[in-house]
Symmetry: C2
Subunit: 94 residues, 2 copies
């Protein structure tokens, strides 16, 4: 099982468009094999500071996710609207 | 419902001691009222890079958690063994 954290920041004027893209991405991704959880969080102090919080059964499931058409399309759209940090991959410790 | 992320870094020589403190903290915290989930992650590329991933029913439950003896005691011990970033509080978006 692996956890993935992807932080990103959005200009306020782009926030609604970005959230709309995430809504579709999240809904489709949750139906993928090996997806344990997949949710988008917004920092309480600044809703334009986003965190994608993912949990996958395995690296192979995560890899397959990144090849799905809905992922590839969402990333292409998001790249123009947000600044994302590299994905951080964690394993559960305790 | 609120999500809390707390990143920290540990010197390799302190890692086992730190994980032992977290083991007890995690076990006790999961029994607290309002604790939806509470887990410690380790960065896959660097196990000394930790992330505490919390989900609470409300801010009030989180506040009560920070006043429990096991939390106060664990933090006092951890402060000497790790460098923690400020807690980031998120709300679920999508």
């Amino acid at each position: 099982m692996i956890n993935v954290l992807v932080g990103s920041t959005v200009l306020p004027g782009n926030l609604e468009a970005v959230l709309e893209i995430y809504r579709e991405l999240v809904a489709r991704t949750r139906n993928e094999p090996g997806c344990v959880s997949y949710e988008l969080l917004q920092l309480r102090e600044d809703p334009c500071d986003l965190m994608l919080l993912e949990c996958w059964l395995s690296q192979e499931h995560l890899d397959a996710h990144t090849r799905t058409p809905h992922f590839v399309e969402a990333i292409a759209q998001l790249e123009m609207l947000e600044t994302a940090a590299p994905a951080l991959i964690y394993t559960k410790s305790v």
